[in-house]
Amino acid sequence: MYKFVTSRIQSYSRLYAFQRSMSSSSAEKPIEGAIRTKLQELNPSHLDILNESYMHNVPKGAETHFKVIVVSEKFNGQPLIKRHRMVNELLQTELQNGVHALSIVAKTPDQWKDSSNVVEPSPACRGGFGK
């Protein structure tokens, strides 16, 4: 119990410190901010973070469903599954604490240049969330 409380306090103080370091608008989106910060590890030449939570049965402003578009040199020569694992690993904490769905588009700069740069939204929710 003590350990649990301590870790809670630590994570709250971390969160608070993080929020203070961000501008007021991103302070309202702590998870999105954390995702953005953590994905910098991949040194992305392009990074989009879409909060798709509004498509689901969650309160307004919730941060539960995300889609990330990451373009990085680090994906060169890596199969898709490896690229997804790289992203998942960086966002492990978020995925274990409230982020329920994460859709990933992971491209190399060459692939991004060749693509239409159009990213489809995720499929419609079918009501399973919340179980």
């Binding site: 898709l80 599954i81 997804h84 694992r85 998942n88 492990q92 995925l95 274990q96 769905a101 994460l102 859709s103 990933i104 588009v105 995720s122 499929p123 419609a124 929710c125 079918r126 009501g127 399973g128 969330f129 179980k131």
Partner: protein, 141 residues
């Protein structure tokens, strides 16, 4: 006290191992195995539904397991693959990916190749064959 902790620890390990064994067997029960939310006739998540639709387009018969019916399975499959989300697709007992990866493999033709490797002819391929035969007959005329 220590004995009890050790025993509990051993039990945890054993439960974990047997869970992994169970899933290890499940994924080999069919050439294609899908862990999803809901059932193919009524998926309960857009991502699971997308995988079902892809499989339907390719005419693939597969085993489907509804993780919403079994919390142990829901967590167990994530531990087994070290993959945080559902759905999860296995081909020939091997984890291939989730919805995003299936969608991309469907779009770039890789799925047809992977299915072929395990002896499944995608019905998209058959349709293509029919239409290309029709086209060549058309050109003969």
């Amino acid at each position: 006290m220590f004995g009890m902790t050790a025993a509990r620890f051993a039990l945890t390990i054993r439960t974990f191992a047997s869970k992994a064994d169970k899933i290890g067997n499940l994924v080999k029960q069919n050439k294609v195995v899908v862990f999803m939310k809901g059932v193919p006739e009524a998926p309960k998540c857009g991502f699971s539904n997308a995988v079902v639709q892809i499989m339907r387009m390719h005419g693939v018969e597969y085993d489907a397991h509804d993780v919403l019916q079994d919390d142990d399975l829901r967590q167990g499959i994530k531990d087994f693959t070290n993959w945080p989300t559902i759905p999860q697709v296995f081909i020939n007992g091997e984890f291939v990916g989730g919805c995003d990866i299936m969608l991309q493999m469907h779009q770039n033709g890789e799925l047809i190749k992977e299915l072929k490797k395990v002896g499944i002819v995608s019905s998209l391929l058959e349709k293509e064959k029919v239409s290309s035969t029709a086209a060549s007959e058309e050109s003969k005329k």
